[in-house]
Amino acid sequence: MRLFIDYTLSGVSSGMIYAAVALGLVLIWRSTRILNFAQGGMAMITTYIASALLEHSVGYWAAFAVALLAGLALGAATERLLIRPVEGRSPVDAVIVAIGFLIFLEALAGAIWGASPRGFPAPFSQVDYLVGGRAIAFTPFDLFVVLAVLALMGVMLLLFRFTEVGLRMRASAFAPEVARLLGVRVNRMLTLGWALATMAGALAGLFVAPAVFLSPNYMDSILIYGFTAAIVGGLESPLGSLVGGLVIGLAISYVGGYLGSAFEGAGALGLLVVVLMVRPSGLFSRVQARRV
């Protein structure tokens, strides 16, 4: 029972990170119908930027804020310069561009900062909480991660549901041509979507680095689990990303805990297969026939 609680707790905290990655992927998918394979790479770059600032004696929170802002800027720039030319074309073009960009970013990081892993601090203690004298697999830092990702999701939800900008973004994703006729500057909304998505990725990157150390490839496996979480959640909504992330996080935690860490990947993939067989469009998607 105690193991179960521990696995659940660590599954929740890692699941939140996958949820943040999934959120970024879902935002980009919904607005531009592109699977952003470079999501992890972009998060890696923004985390390296934070790391560089920390080396120059900038405080953690300032570096944190800069990383998020860098995410916004990087996402916007990527959409305008790299993605805009391939938006209307075959999906394969966009995939090639994204993968190419990922390779470029990893090489760039290696060239600037070297390939050897470096440490990255966590803003809160990584010592297990004690409950009734016993240590549980949950730390103050984990609590911060959970709260921060929930806050991110909350902000996104508020943005989309209650603001004019959110309305324009949704319209741009659902019906870009009609939106244009109504005066929505669809291209700007797409850039904004990418900016927000990359910021979500940047947040995830900052949260992953303390445990696994910062290196050019450190986000690769996180991206894969994030993708799985996004698909399980339905590629449609922030809520789907959250649930997908938690489901994957828990699945990996249980499988890794009870069967051994070698089986983690198989666990995630197995879950993906089950979900795709039972509900192919993902847990939270609304499969709708489009009526004219």
Binding site: A179, L181, L182
Partner: protein
């Protein structure tokens, strides 16, 4: 609005060929013709969804055809596209808000939305609901209402009667006539339903294979039996 020599192609196919006509302020001009005659392409080229290969569509000194579509409604021209373009995933109210989202004047937009609800009570009843449950006629009301929230001077309508029952079509046509009278709106109405369109139009332009076959006062076109048989099928 003056359209001059407007042409457009889909690849090798000349969908519009040197189309010219003028729409008078405060009037209704019907664009008629068979399926595939280029009526929808005409509207899409005017509002920039389809690139023009030649010619212009001038309105208040601006060539609409050369601007991106999102600028056209800012110039005062609202296009209700074929199929209505009601955004399914949004509620009735969100669709209407979208119509005015490019304007800075929030109060004006809210007032305009209020007017639309007065004009179309069924929409007011369902304002927070998804558009899924709307009937065809209600969707058309929503599409027109949404265009009106932008307070346009010109309304381009692409086959509003498509898929609607005859009684509803008559209501929509009467509504257009009222809007023109009350707001000095200018309407360019593309229709397959020639009879209905001619009953409210001031002028008619008949397209055949992308070209203007004839244009003139609507009453004249409607009363000329030969013409009707030949071009309009009744």
């Amino acid at each position: 609005m003056t359209v001059e020599g407007l042409s457009a192609s889909y690849g090798p196919v000349r969908a519009l060929d040197d189309v010219s006509f003028t729409v008078e302020e405060g009037s209704i001009t019907a664009v008629l013709g068979a399926n595939g005659a280029g009526k929808t392409t005409l509207l899409r080229t005017i509002t920039g969804l389809v690139p023009a290969t030649g010619g212009t569509a001038m309105f208040r000194g601006v060539d609409l055809a050369s601007r991106p579509p999102e600028e056209v409604v800012r110039a005062g021209v609202a296009h209700v596209p074929e199929g209505r373009g009601v955004v399914q995933e949004l509620t009735v109210e969100e669709n209407l808000r979208l119509g005015g989202s490019f304007r800075r004047d929030r109060d004006g937009t809210r007032a305009a939305i209020g007017e639309v609800y007065e004009m179309f009570p069924p929409l007011a009843e369902r304002r927070r609901r998804s558009t899924f449950t709307l009937s065809g006629g209600e969707r058309q009301m929503l599409a027109i209402g949404r265009a009106l929230v932008a307070r346009p001077e010109v309304l381009l309508l692409d086959e509003p009667s498509l898929g609607l029952a005859p009684r509803v079509t008559t209501q929509i046509m009467a509504l257009l006539r009222t809007l023109v009278a009350e707001r000095n709106l200018t309407v360019l109405l593309v229709e397959q339903n020639a009879r209905g369109a001619l009953s409210i139009a001031d002028r008619a332009v008949v397209l055949v294979l992308g070209r203007v076959a004839l244009q003139g006062p609507a009453a004249q076109v409607a009363s000329d039996e030969n013409l009707r048989h030949h071009y309009l099928g009744y």
